[in-house]
Amino acid sequence: MDTCKLATTSRTMTGLWLCFAGMAHAMVPLSDNSLAEVAGQNGVSLVIDGATWSASSIEHTQDGESLRLKGVSARPVQGHAGVTTVRIDTLANGVHMSLSAPQTEYRIDDIVLGTGLQGFGGLRSFANVNAAVGIRSLTPSINASLEPAGLASDLGFALSGSVQVGQGTAYWRHGPYDLITKGLRLGVTFADATFKWPDTASGQDFNLTFQDVAITAGMSGMTLDLAEGDPTPGQMATPLMQDERDPRALAGTQGVSADVNWHLAQGSAFLTDNDKHLWIQGLRSHGSGNITLDMTRRCSTGVVTCFDGSVSDPSTGQYNGHFDGLRVGFNDVVGSYSLEDIRFGSSPSPLEGETEQKLFAGIYDATLNGHATLLPGGKAGDGLRFNADLWTSNFDLTPASDAQGEGIWLSDTHSRMHFRHGSVDVTEAGLEIHKGEHWSRLDINDARLGSRATGKSFGRIMFKTYELDSSITLATGGSGTVCAGALAGSAGDCTSAGGTWQDFGDQGLSARPKTIFVQDNSPQSFVNGVVMNEKRNQFAFETNRRLGSDGKAVNGSGTQMVLDNFWTSDDKVGDPLANQHGLQVDVGIDIAPTVVVSKVAPHTQSQALGFAINGRLSFKEMVAERLQALHPTGGAQTVIHGLRMQNADVRFNLTATPIN
């Protein structure tokens, strides 16, 4: 059989050879190893020293809208030894190219839409690029000989190789500030990506297929440079010459704003814990809204129309102050999220789930407003710090309802949360989230049983919290080994102490929330006998409200019980304000075999799978100042003048199994 070969013995052969249709070739594709070995002796090497290119504007216009990249350029970085080398070698049926480019600055001065009054900001990135690609021709189709002369199908070439971008630093300049991403690296390795010419006979267009692609990417961190402008005007910071000045001033007119809209029609999630599985099915979500991304700075002294972090704009009654950092803003982001079905099973297939429950749970029409402002650097070392004010309003929540939509509904609910100096860290204990100073309020206007809009209401529930240094630590591992019903460290000791030894494996979820409730000693402001201070721990339950003209219950028109001003304490002799222990819960959650008992005598037991929750709850002291009873016209009366709970250390084991 004829073979189409390059004259590899010739030392002057270069270029790309393709084998055209009309000949039946039995060509054996070269493997990657072969490609690597067959390097031509006399390939082409191009050495480019200090090359620079630029374009003042690159514009894309579509349907009357234009996206313009202003000032696009690439230039080598001063201080780096660098020449760009391109090398081309010939192979038996293809070509091998390699590219090595040292630290080069790739720059877009601004990215603007439309008229250009608002821009996304400028982007500068510094990176090394190394690429190696082998190009070989493809075997033409066997039927080619039956077709008329011309291009045949299945003609094209195959690419194998990799592109590595390394030592990357990216600066997103937004107003006078930079968001800096360091240690960027990206690697794409592909084998046999094929590119086929269009086949006029069968109407096929270009065809690009990837067989095997491996992508790795990473970055070592992000930082913010809140110093205004550049150290030397006109000379922008580079990885070798960073900007280390003190910051001042406010955000400009640059930033990113995105109108988002999402639909998740049907999704499912899958969790595995030591060969036991949980499927959550029928996940649905949809929503829309506006999300903004800005870099902001606290106000400097003397500036008039600026609201610093903890100060609210009196005209709007909201916290619209600025904090240092990357501000993610939410404007009327309305969303609904729900799930339909949970199943437990020991086989990997959801269809063989052993225990199933049609459980509808969801949150509907939640409108989110507010912001979270992020700073790099957590409580210790790397991590993240944050300040946030978040309002979620007008939503309905059901933790459990059935297919008819009947169940428990928290209707017309509003929630607000504020965090100051919170942080997120990854430590050897797990993911630690510190809430910093945190206060919140949850208003459930109707706790209903029945359908979402017309179910009978238990009444109104209001819950305010005020915490300092609360935290939650999340880790994997679950409960591990547990002695249920007794305290013992080994299986033998456990059984002899009357307990049951259980091993939940080494997977699962561990959570350790520590909540430190703080006493409110500030001057009190009352409305109808109830203290209205915002930073206070308080719980209220109101029933027997009268209906207003719009058919909705009027809050404050009924009778209420209020647990007013509660807090945790260390009850330390000589230090009445000591409050470090708080309310601590240490819980492990696993998917585990459980036992279900028949409700009818003789109460036979059967095996099932469910959630196993093991844990410990402790507090030194929990105090409540008073329990009040309120009448809409008669005012408030204190029923209990003080509550104290002390010295708690409760151990619990619980399994929950869905039943039908």
Partner: protein, 199 residues
Amino acid sequence: MRSKTWFLAVLLIACPAWAQLSAMTESDLREQSGQGGVQLLGAFSINPVGGALWRTPVSNNPASWSADQRSCAPTGAVAPQACGMRLGLRAQAQGGWYVLDNIKGRYSFEGLTVRTRHISSGFGNDGAGFDRQVVQIGLPTSLLVHEASMELAMSNQANWRNRQAGAAGADTSFRQNNLISLGMSGTLKTEGHLLIFPR
């Protein structure tokens, strides 16, 4: 001129089927009836080895206790005993405190169920007129109580303090009079359901 259609198949990435769907309305949610509920089985122990506030001292003599120690063994006993939970409640402004002290015990149960249920029939013909959703709590098939105990007492202050003059952290003005001790062990068998619903 043929438009360029690029066909890209990446085997390792599965793309979800995105579709332009609108939100499911409540009427769409109504399909087959689905019962739902959960069965709970478990145990909890109150202060099996003492609590978070008071460490157990080595002797039962209050004079030797440090400021964060307390033993709840009966007076005159030789060996100290770890303390249970303490609950205090004041019914009058500036009044004394009702106290449940040294609360301990292990409680285990099985067969406790919680579900919601729509009742529109039965109950001696009351059900048809009722026609409402209730939370139905199925009482446990058995409830084991193991060495549960507590003391009912009165005290003049909210917090317990060591009365022994000279001891660390002592407050000789503290008074607590134990009125009665309660202990319970055994198995409670219960049957039936508790129905909870808003009026």
